[in-house]
């Protein structure tokens, strides 16, 4: 079967801001070469690790974000390796890099230099704040990116400091926006023959996730704040049940067509005290936003929910067409019958493990050009000889540096 991105070559010389972007290209069939410094790319030192052994071949974060890639180690401080990189760049459609702005230029590898020998090349630079501007040289890991992009302010409880989101979502935002922009530019370059330098800012990518915070400020002069653990408005929020928590959105978003359906559900279940929810005031956003409404809803719904498991409430509510879902743990996901039906989790291999294990698979099902993890993440420098040979360059033995991947 053909791949959607067959024939594209991507050089992924990035770190945590770009490795998932490269993976998206690789899993749809592009030839992605992960170019790593001799000590290994930064994600190799990110937890979690296989059996907690923190060495450069054991990071599961690395193993996931670098499937369908080959690894080539290059020391860009070395003139010979720079020549190899330039040679490789003439064969590429896309280069993804995440160095601080100016770094590629200081190595003589900026967009102008790369473009001079390959006019169709797209260079995507993903950095914390973008290529220019007052914060261009500021450092940011995920937490700082989430803070400066405004999403951190919305996380956590009203009575605590802001609390971050699991899973390096600021990095994820940068990767995702980088992937979309790269794909737009590559498609255009294939048509016009001219590439592009794409400048992606993690901060700006995070700002896209603020929902309505910017518009509330602009249109109503209101600052949105964190509300974790509370009902956003009556009927919307986390509620405890018999074996965990469920998330309920009795009112939906915008219109309130779900409120009536929720009332029907409660009536059929004979939930004590739920008849009042049919009163007119419960159909107004204004009332649902009051503490009074939230307290009444809590006092009616929580005793009912305590009788049932997450799974039972999920089924009962969804049978009535109301938006309700279990608050799943990672272990729950593996048992989820819908994800099982879709065969979402796929077998993944790692050379350190005798058995394969399950990992998230295709984030999209393309009917003609399916997603495919074509190979597990590479060992450091695993494909040095193979790639150099393809370039017609003899693989020259050179002193290997001591691996320093575990620190940064």
């Amino acid at each position: 079967m053909t791949s959607a991105l067959a024939g594209l070559r991507v050089l992924d010389m990035s770190g945590p801001l770009g490795n998932y972007c490269g993976k998206l290209f690789g899993d749809l069939g592009a030839d992605v070469i992960l170019i790593e410094p001799p000590g290994g790319t930064q994600l190799r030192s990110e937890p979690p690790f296989i059996h907690d052994r923190a060495d450069i071949e054991s990071s599961l974060a690395f193993a996931y974000a670098n499937t369908s890639k080959r690894s080539l180690t290059l020391d860009l401080e070395d003139q010979g390796d720079r020549a190899t990189f330039l040679r490789l760049a003439t064969t590429a459609d896309l280069v993804i890099e995440t160095f601080s702005p100016g770094t590629l230029g200081s190595l003589g590898l900026d967009y102008t230099a790369l473009m001079s020998t390959n006019k169709r090349l797209v260079l995507t630079s993903i950095t914390p704040f973008g290529q220019t501007g007052p914060y261009a040289q500021y450092q940011a890991d995920d937490l700082v990116g989430l803070a400066m992009g405004g999403l951190l302010y919305l996380g956590g409880y009203p009575d605590t400091p802001p609390i971050t989101t699991y899973g390096n979502q600021a990095y994820a935002a940068a990767n995702l926006c980088g992937a979309v922009a790269s794909m737009i530019a590559v498609l255009a370059a294939e048509q016009t023959g001219t590439g592009e330098h794409v400048d992606v800012s993690m901060q700006e990518a995070v700002v896209m996730a603020l929902e309505t915070a910017a518009q509330f400020y602009d249109l109503e002069g209101a600052i949105k704040k964190r509300w974790g653990g509370k009902q956003r408005h009556a009927g919307t929020g986390v509620f405890p049940c018999k074996d965990g928590y469920i998330y309920f959105m009795a009112g939906g978003v915008g219109g309130n067509r779900f409120w009536r359906l929720s009332c029907d559900w409660f009536e059929e279940e004979g939930v004590p005290g739920s008849a009042q929810f049919r009163d007119e005031r419960w159909f107004t956003h204004e009332f649902l936003s009051t503490d009074e409404a939230k307290t009444i809803f809590h006092d009616v719904f929580v005793p009912y929910a305590a009788n049932f498991t997450m799974e039972e409430l999920y089924r009962k509510g969804q049978d009535k067409h109301v938006p309700i879902a279990p608050v799943s743990t990672p272990a729950d996901l593996l048992k989820n019958p819908q994800l099982q039906h879709r065969e979402f989790f796929v077998e993944m291999k790692h050379f350190l493990l005798p058995e394969s294990f399950l990992a998230p698979g295709a984030p999209y099902a393309l009917s003609r050009t399916p997603w495919r993890m074509s190979r597990p993440a590479p060992r450091l420098g695993e494909h040095n000889a193979e790639i150099l040979e393809e370039l017609g360059m003899a693989s020259q033995p050179r002193p290997t540096r001591r691996a320093v991947g575990a620190t940064r």
Binding site: T2, A4, L5, Y20, P47, Y64, G130, G133, A136, Q139, L143, A147, M148, L151, Y153, G155, Y157, P161, I163, T165, Y166, G167, G178, V180, A181, A188, E190, Q191, E196, V198, E204, V207, A209, T212, A214, F216, K224, G228, T236, I246, Y247, V253, H285, P323, A325, V327, S328, P330, D332, P337, Q338, R342, F357, A359, P360, A362, Y364, A365, S367, T407
Partner: protein, 407 residues
């Protein structure tokens, strides 16, 4: 001559609504694709009636939530209960490269607008479906929003304090980045395939799955190490300090991350080496991490004296990653970097007047990728599109509007 966007020439008949779908097609529109938003006064896109509203006055053309998700698109109104409307929309689909929707499975089938029906009249169509659970399976008819998808995918469980209710992101996060970006990426890949082979295809996205993909390390912790990850506040598994620290003012916080001993020394110097920093427990990363609760308290007492912005700037100059926990006013009124990048764009909307929009979060060196226009009024472009795409004249178009077909 105005430059055309890189996706110019690609036409999308866009049935998406609410969050994730509309954001996906907005990305296409801002890059130059011609996106025709199919909507109906009979069944409003619920974002049109979701706050905030211009001047706090509710109205279908006044929502800031809707407008930010629907830039650069044109709106075509029709009542799909009318057979004539269905015929017109099929003709639009026939003239399109892409048909997109994020309805629950069954809706497009009932309307006769499912993949097979469209493919029958337009064999190389790229058909994007983004339902919550995917097109088949025991829960395929289950419905939800970004917040319930966040719960179902594990994100909610994983974010917050371990001893309290899970807190999540405080937003419908999967709608805003994971789903639209994955959707657009897949769609563009399919477009490339069509250019090379002439083949269209169906893209089926379950909106739970892109978010789970982004949470992969938590899944692998379980499938490889047998450990069920729980939420841990702002803690990092190996580094400290790693968190937010109070600054002068009300609800003002600075995120600080120290990953090396050199950065720790730099932080101590910026703080002017208060006595507590001399404690030898702070000398190594492992000892800082082991004693992080106490470290957080002492550091918080020190940062409280500072203006967050000044401390951020000094720490950054000293090589320490630090960033203000910015609220909307910080981002819009004060952040010099977003201003430098021109992130905030003011567009003139036909009913809301000049209001604020997000620019695309990437800059292209030569192509035009930017907001072409403010969000459309409901049905604003019906007559124009009829004439341009289907060669149906304005008199005939107006008659269809008056008869309730195109509303």
């Amino acid at each position: 001559m105005t430059k055309r966007g890189p996706l110019a020439g690609i036409r999308v008949t866009d049935f998406t609504w609410i969050g994730a779908g509309s954001f996906a097609t907005k990305m296409l529109a801002d890059a130059g694709a011609e996106v025709i938003k199919i909507e109906s006064a009979e069944r409003l896109d619920s974002l049109r009636v979701a706050p905030p509203f211009k001047d706090r006055i509710k109205g279908v053309n006044r929502s800031g939530y809707f407008s930010d998700r629907n830039t650069s698109k044109r709106s075509f109104a029709l009542n799909l209960k009318d057979a004539r409307a269905r015929e017109i929309v099929l003709r639009l689909a026939k003239e399109s490269d892409v048909v997109a929707n994020n309805f629950t499975p069954g809706v497009m089938e009932r309307l006769g607008l499912d993949y097979d029906s469209i493919r029958a009249i337009k064999p190389d169509i790229i058909y994007l479906s983004m339902s919550m659970q995917g097109s088949s399976g025991p829960h395929s008819r289950y419905l939800g929003y970004g917040l319930t998808i966040g719960a179902l995918s594990g994100l909610h469980h994983l974010s917050g304090l371990p001893e309290r209710l899970p807190a999540g992101t405080g937003t419908n996060y999967p709608d805003h980045l994971p789903n639209p970006c994955h959707g657009v990426f897949a769609l563009l890949a399919a477009l490339r395939h069509r250019r090379r082979t002439g083949e269209g295809q169906h893209i089926d996205i379950a909106q739970t799955e892109p978010t789970i993909a982004l949470l992969a390390p938590s899944v692998l912790e379980y499938t490889v190490n047998g450990r069920v990850v729980n939420r841990t506040g702002n803690d990092h598994p190996s580094f400290a300090p790693h968190g937010v620290y109070p600054c002068a003012g009300t609800d003002r916080w600075l995120a600080i991350v120290v990953t090396t001993d050199r950065q720790w020394q730099a932080l101590v110097e910026v703080l002017d080496a208060p006595a507590w920093t001399a404690d030898e427990r702070w000398n190594t990363a492992s000892s800082r991490h082991a004693n992080r609760r106490e470290l957080d308290i002492s550091l918080g007492e020190a940062t409280r004296q500072w203006s967050g912005e000044e401390l951020m700037n000094r720490l950054q100059v000293a090589g320490v990653a630090a960033g203000l926990v910015q609220d909307a006013a910080d981002l819009i009124d004060r952040d010099p970097q977003l201003a430098h990048r021109g992130h905030w764009v003011r567009l003139d909307h036909a009913e809301m007047g000049v209001s604020l929009y997000n620019a695309p979060p990437y800059r292209f060196s030569s192509s035009r990728v930017e907001l072409a226009s403010a969000a459309p009024l409901l049905g604003e472009h019906t007559l124009e599109i009829l004439e341009e795409v289907l060669a149906i004249g304005r008199v005939e178009g107006q008659r269809l509007i008056d008869e309730g077909v195109l509303v």
